[in-house]
């Protein structure tokens, strides 16, 4: 167990509440590319650049506030594993070997290939706990399967797909591609909307209310489509490309990477137009490289290129330092379903597991 020292001078404008956050280091065989918690919150999975998946079983420890961690590493992909998502107590990983693998977390040795794109990379995955669907993309092709591997949608969107996002209930899927977004309804197998904006869209997300689809673009902007008014607009000013976007669970706030602070845009009411974002947790010389939204509270975790991990409130901008600078850039973050734990994977092949006190508050 290791309580982090949080008085790092490089983390400026940060409220320090160190006793409420405990952390422990987890060793990984390679660089972390993505991470997720199972729905029961006892298993954390990290996908890795060597094709392995590391599973950490987290159980209460009798003598310490930090949990006991048991590790299983399994090289499920032939080349890099680039994404992992949980579905119930199990996981689905995707890799540059063209495979989507179903990982039975109670018996990882029984993992099976859920779907395969022979000789191609699978580059994006989205899952919906509500509909039980798994969307996969490789090149121009998007395939939606269920946990048995039965295909519900198999569509060519005519251009390379960069990212996928289900709506809140998992009935519709947003597919980002060159020059815009295509939406699809897996139940009917139909592609429905074509949302066009010229250029390269590198990521997509769908607001919890279902009203907004937001993409990140190569031009270091966000592009927003309002599906109610059918208008679209840009949000600019990012120094770097935004690689990760998450919606805060309860308050229709979109948190993004790409700046030296976590930017939190409120889409409640009239939307973000004309309103500045809340800026959370400035790190001097750092860029936010990963973001994750607390499942229940209005809190966002941000990982930085400097190795810092901060947890901040979406409404105020103050943040708690969970991990000081040092180590390598944070590539991925995930909260456990109740928000008790947070995991941050990094480029150098390490992860930090944080245990947050129940009464964690950011003033």
């Amino acid at each position: 167990m290791n309580v982090q020292v949080t008085d790092d001078p490089r983390a400026i404008g940060v409220e320090v509440l160190s006793p409420l956050v405990q952390s422990q280091q987890l060793d990984l065989p390679a660089n972390a590319t993505d991470c997720a918690f199972s729905s029961c919150g006892t298993i954390c999975a990290v996908s890795l650049g060597d094709g392995s998946i590391s599973l950490f079983e987290i159980s209460d420890s009798e003598n310490s506030a930090a949990p006991k961690v048991t590790t299983v590493n399994d090289k499920l992909h032939h080349v890099a594993a680039v994404g992992i998502q949980s579905l119930g107590s199990d996981f689905v990983s995707i890799g540059q070997d063209g495979r989507a693998v179903w990982i039975d977390s109670s018996a990882p040795e029984n993992s099976r290939i859920l779907f395969e794109f022979p000789g191609a990379w699978i580059e994006s995955i989205a899952v919906s706990e509500d509909s039980g669907l798994i969307a996969l993309a490789s090149g121009h092709r998007c395939v939606v399967v269920d946990r048995q591997g039965d295909v519900h949608l198999d569509a060519d969107v005519g251009s390379t797909i960069s990212d996928l996002a289900f709506d809140a209930v998992g009935r519709r899927l947003a597919i980002s591609r060159y020059d815009g977004v295509t939406t699809a309804t897996p139940a009917t197998g139909e592609l429905d909307l074509q949302l066009d904006w010229k250029g390269s869209h590198t990521g997509v997300s769908w607001s919890p209310s279902g009203r907004y689809i937001v993409t990140a673009t190569q031009e270091k902007e966000l592009h927003v489509w309002d599906l109610v008014t059918l208008q679209d607009f840009r949000i600019g000013g990012y120094p770097r490309k935004c690689h990760q976007m998450v919606w805060s669970a309860k308050d229709e706030i979109l948190a993004c990477s790409g700046a030296d602070v976590i930017t939190a845009w409120s889409f409640a009411g009239t939307g973000p137009a004309g309103r500045p974002p809340v800026e959370i947790g400035f790190v001097f010389g750092g860029t936010v490289s990963a973001v994750a939204a607390h499942p229940e509270k209005p809190l966002i975790a941000g990982g930085f290129s400097t190795g810092n991990v901060l947890v901040g409130a979406t409404g105020k901008g103050e943040a708690v330092v969970a991990k000081a600078a040092g180590g390598s850039p944070v590539t991925c973050l995930a909260w456990s379903p109740t928000g008790t734990h947070l995991v941050a994977g990094n480029e150098a092949g390490g992860a930090t597991l944080f245990t947050l006190a129940d009464d964690l508050k950011v003033k």
Partner: protein, 328 residues
């Protein structure tokens, strides 16, 4: 990430161009199959060979898009941003990456991709543009095919391949034509793409810190004005007089803004008036990169050199404009 860490982990990327049948595939096969103890990934459009490590050969789809940044010649290869980003997620550190462009493609979108994408700039370094030239067929195709001409014009390193099929006079004629198009490329004569790979890979041709001198071209004459207006020429300028920084920068800014579409490549090493260090710069179309280079040594001749490669270049006009930058 600190500057030191970034530099240590930058992976060199070599762009391989050349007309169909010039020997690109032969060279790629050598790089992938020879026992050189290094790990290279190759990004290709179509690769027919079997029996090579397929994880290291990635198909590109040549998806080009225009940046919405107002730069009229800034087209970028989206597929490369995606594929290179994917390769950087792999645990294995690569010693280098080669990008093969199809026999007909203009390489500038590939080059511009490295200038405009911050993520790639942080982790990768565009190393050199290598062009394979078929010694036997080059002179037959170069005057009719713009792409064939452009591939030579853009290159830092030229492999004059299949020299076993051409006699010495024939080789000289090809070299002369190459020099008309490109006065700064290093030319190696090869047979069956046989060359020490250290002469081709990790050369740092785009590294401004290594731009110490522009090697004098084989042909030191500038082309006659008005000869073929739309064909590519290479114009080399030099002066021993100190260059006035304000005059030079306003000329260059205006010239590149107005003529950037025609100017394929620019390289320069300048002795600016009152400056101890060399001012080094290079550009591809309108994208320019500059830095302070090595200091001039007391015994060195402070000579400024400038090379433009492009279309519709009038050598006399450029000489006059450059000379005007030296008047106080």
């Amino acid at each position: 990430m600190s500057e030191a860490v970034q530099l240590a982990t930058k992976v060199p990327v070599t762009l391989l161009t050349g007309y169909l049948g010039a020997g690109k595939t032969t060279l790629l096969n050598r790089i992938l199959s020879e026992d050189h103890g290094k790990k290279y990934a190759v990004i290709v459009n179509e690769f027919g060979e079997e029996g090579i490590d397929n994880d290291l050969v990635i198909d590109a789809d040549e998806e080009i898009f225009e940046m919405n940044n107002g730069c009229i010649c800034c087209t970028v290869r989206g597929d490369l941003i995606r594929i290179l980003g994917g390769l950087l997620k792999r645990a294995d550190q690569l010693d280098g990456i080669l990008i093969e462009t199809t026999g007909l493609a203009d390489p500038s979108p590939v080059i511009q991709t490295f200038f405009v994408d911050d993520d790639l700039r942080d982790r990768l370094a565009l190393d050199s543009i290598v062009s394979m030239v078929d010694a036997k067929h080059f002179l037959d195709t170069v005057d009719n095919e713009h792409e064939c001409e452009e591939q030579v014009a853009f290159a830092d390193i030229i492999l004059l391949n299949k020299t076993d099929l051409v006699d010495e006079d024939g080789q000289s004629a090809v070299e002369k034509k190459i020099r008309q198009l490109n006065q700064f490329a290093k030319v190696h004569k090869t047979q069956k793409a046989g060359i020490d790979l250290n002469q081709v890979l990790s050369r740092g041709s785009f590294d401004l810190k290594r731009l110490i001198e522009i090697e004098p071209g084989f042909l030191e004459e500038n082309p006659d004005d008005h000869e073929h207006d739309d064909s590519i020429v290479s114009v080399s300028l030099r002066t021993s007089k100190p260059v006035q920084p304000d005059k030079f920068s306003s000329w260059m800014r205006e010239f590149i803004r107005d003529r950037g579409v025609d100017v394929l490549r620019t390289k320069g090493i300048l002795a600016l008036d009152g400056q101890e260090q060399r001012y080094v710069f290079q550009g591809v179309h309108m994208v320019m990169d500059s830095d302070w280079g090595k200091a001039w040594q007391p015994e060195e001749k402070r000579e400024s050199r400038l090379v433009f490669i492009g279309r519709n270049l009038n050598a006399t006009e450029l000489e006059n404009a450059f000379t005007a930058c030296t008047s106080t």
